[in-house]
């Protein structure tokens, strides 16, 4: 990477930035899930590394969350944007050099931000934990250069139309900057009280709603037609999906605070909009599953489709759960419990991670012109992720129901801790499986870069048979 930082743009090979982002994303995924496994171990076994302040749960939790969101997920998005945006416009990335610098500064900035969080320098607000000066670095040093590259690549495309994926990429890179600017305003302007609470959750909601969910969906709009060779089922449903994300996903932030003394009309409004998140979800899932018509055997045989369709299918429970858990009656029971933690992992470790993994698998093979080193290891990675995540999700959902019952019926706290203990162990097992699977993934992709079968010019990776 370093030799390209000061090279001329035309001397940097096409796809270099995407490859750097791809490998960075995998490394951050290992860091993030490793920290997750460590934190889960502390909840499952309270005596595990006890008494070391810097390794206390309070120091480590937010490092795990932001390593995953800004490291793994967002860098995988950047990787996808760096190769998919130009591909869909039949052109090159607007500035490969900007992309390489973007990747370099992103890694440095994130490492610095996470180090500060680990040291306890934090805003203290969940999801927007980073201190304000790091927020500014994220907005102007990370997100703006990424957006600029995406927008200019779309602008300089050599097609007349813009494919659905690029609508989402172009819009999401703009919207996420607004989310960071407005969502962090409590810290920029020292806002307190309900305003701070509302904006904190406006940020947290929209990082999911206007960044993670639409970009992950946009990736699958590329991967499924590209790999199956089928046309996207419906351009029209793409419109429905895109505009319903903008209208219905951006508005329900207040449903995270259903028990707070916010104006009741705002909660009513947000709660209806929260159920209506099912509108983009239904449009998205139906469009992608109908695109698979006649190619369902690839769900078993092809690793990118396996990851993508698993992610698409997870959008169904994710949005059903999300839509209903935020209604007054249900939220009263499960608010503040492990149920919410399970739901957050269904969104980030389930739905979106599977879609991003597909983008990284496909992108690295295409850009490196190397066939995947080992299908067996990729399948191992898939099942470690799927079984590990499912174990996590089910155990935390059950733990959440136990905690909810304990909360409502005023069961002594220690009794709740004892009752949920087996599920905390299961959570740790599931999370550790994901971590180990990711280590295998890094090895597989490293070997792919070094020893994967060379893909001849004009061919796509999935058109070649595996050699191992």
């Amino acid at each position: 990477m370093f030799k390209y930082l000061f090279a001329k743009n035309e001397d940097i090979p096409a796809g270099a930035a995407a490859v750097f982002f791809g490998f960075s994303a995998i490394v951050w995924f290992i860091v993030g899930t490793g920290l997750g496994s460590f934190n889960a171990a502390k909840l499952a076994f309270p005596d595990f590394i006890y008494g070391v302040e810097m390794l206390a749960f309070g120091h480590m939790r937010q490092v795990h969350v932001l390593a995953v969101i800004l490291g793994w997920i967002s860098m995988a998005f950047a990787m996808a944007m760096m190769y998919i945006t130009p591909a869909l416009g039949n052109t090159k990335l607007w500035s490969e050099k900007l992309g390489v610098w973007n990747c370099f500064l992103w890694n440095v900035g994130l490492a610095l931000g996470l180090f500060l969080l680990w040291m306890g320098v934090t805003s203290g607000r969940e999801y927007s934990d980073l201190p304000w000066f790091i927020d500014l670095v994220v907005i102007f040093g990370v997100l703006f250069p990424l957006g600029l590259n995406v927008w200019m690549t779309i602008k300089t495309r050599r097609t007349q139309g813009i494919y659905t994926t690029n609508w989402f990429f172009g819009a999401a890179t703009f919207m996420v900057m607004i989310v960071f600017l407005v969502g962090n305003s409590p810290e920029f302007f020292s806002l307190t009280g309900l305003t701070e609470a509302y904006l904190t959750w406006w940020f947290a909601h929209n990082v999911l709603g206007l960044w993670i969910t639409p970009v992950a969906a946009a990736i699958s709009y590329y991967i499924v037609p590209k790999v199956t060779g089928n046309p996207l089922y419906s351009h029209r449903i793409g419109h429905l999906h895109f505009w319903s994300v903008v209208v219905f996903y951006s508005t329900p932030a207040a449903h995270h605070l259903m028990s707070a003394p916010l104006p009741e009309w705002l909660k009513s409004f947000a709660s209806v909009e929260g159920v209506l998140i099912l509108v983009p979800a239904i449009a998205f899932v139906s469009n992608l599953l109908l695109t698979m018509t006649g190619k369902w055997k690839m769900f078993v045989e092809n690793v990118e489709i396996k990851f993508t369709i698993s992610g698409v299918l997870m959008a169904i429970p994710l949005n059903m759960q999300g839509g209903f858990q935020q209604t007054r009656a249900i939220n009263w029971y499960i608010h503040g419990t492990g149920w919410i933690v399970a739901h957050a992992h269904l969104a980030l470790l389930g739905f979106s991670t599977f879609l991003e993994a597909a983008a990284v698998y496909y992108g690295l093979q295409t850009l490196l012109r190397r066939k995947l080193y080992s299908l067996a290891l990729a399948n191992f990675h898939f099942w470690m992720l799927l079984i590990g995540f499912t174990t996590y999700w089910i155990s935390m959902t059950i733990a959440g129901l136990i905690q909810g019952a304990g909360k409502i019926y005023e069961v002594p706290y220690i009794d709740v801790v004892i009752a949920e203990h087996p599920y905390m162990i299961a959570r740790w097992v599931g999370g550790t499986m994901v971590f180990l699977g990711n280590c295998v993934w890094l090895f597989n992709m490293w070997k792919t870069a070094r020893a994967g079968t060379v893909i001849p010019a004009g061919r796509l990776p999935h058109e070649l048979a595996y050699e191992r």
Partner: protein, 211 residues
Amino acid sequence: MAWKLDNPLHTMTSEDQNQKAVELWEAESLGGITEDNNRLPQPVLGLLVLTIITAFLITFPLWGQRPHAAMYEEYIQLMDSPEVKDLPDDKAMQFIVDKVKASNSKWSALQERHPLEMDDLRMIKDQVVELQKQGARLDEYTIVGNKVVIANFEGNFIDDKGTTRRERVQPWWDKGYTIDIVFILVFCVAVMIAVKRLPPFTFKPDHGKHH
């Protein structure tokens, strides 16, 4: 970008514009990806309509109604009755619940949803009695733990003994829902226009014409 509004459910674009779109659609390859022009399948359309209806039905405050002081007014009146005074707490509470239920209280459904014990009643009794003495509307006061506090709902302005103030009763319908309806209507109209400006769904692109 000529508009054609004589048959808006078919297309809102003139024939020549549609023809140009069709030619581009069939000739252009977006990074090797092509698109079909299928309409939303009708069962999926039905699911979307069901989702919108469900969104309103399931989010009414009715399903998350908070306990207010008026719900327990009849309970508190019965606490000092001779039948109750001589009973142990659990039987006394059961007697009160049965008696109020038999009287067809207007709060029966909420009372069932928010059951109390005698100790709970004792904690709020004096506060409720005090409010009664002041002539307050008890359904404007919420029970929060062992406290009876003015509810944080802000309804319409009402006239109260010559002064104007906000009504504090939890609403079953408020302006939040009205805004939702406006959002949904605007969204439906905007998306209808977006898709009806495309060639009609009867056009099936021929993907063999790509470069």
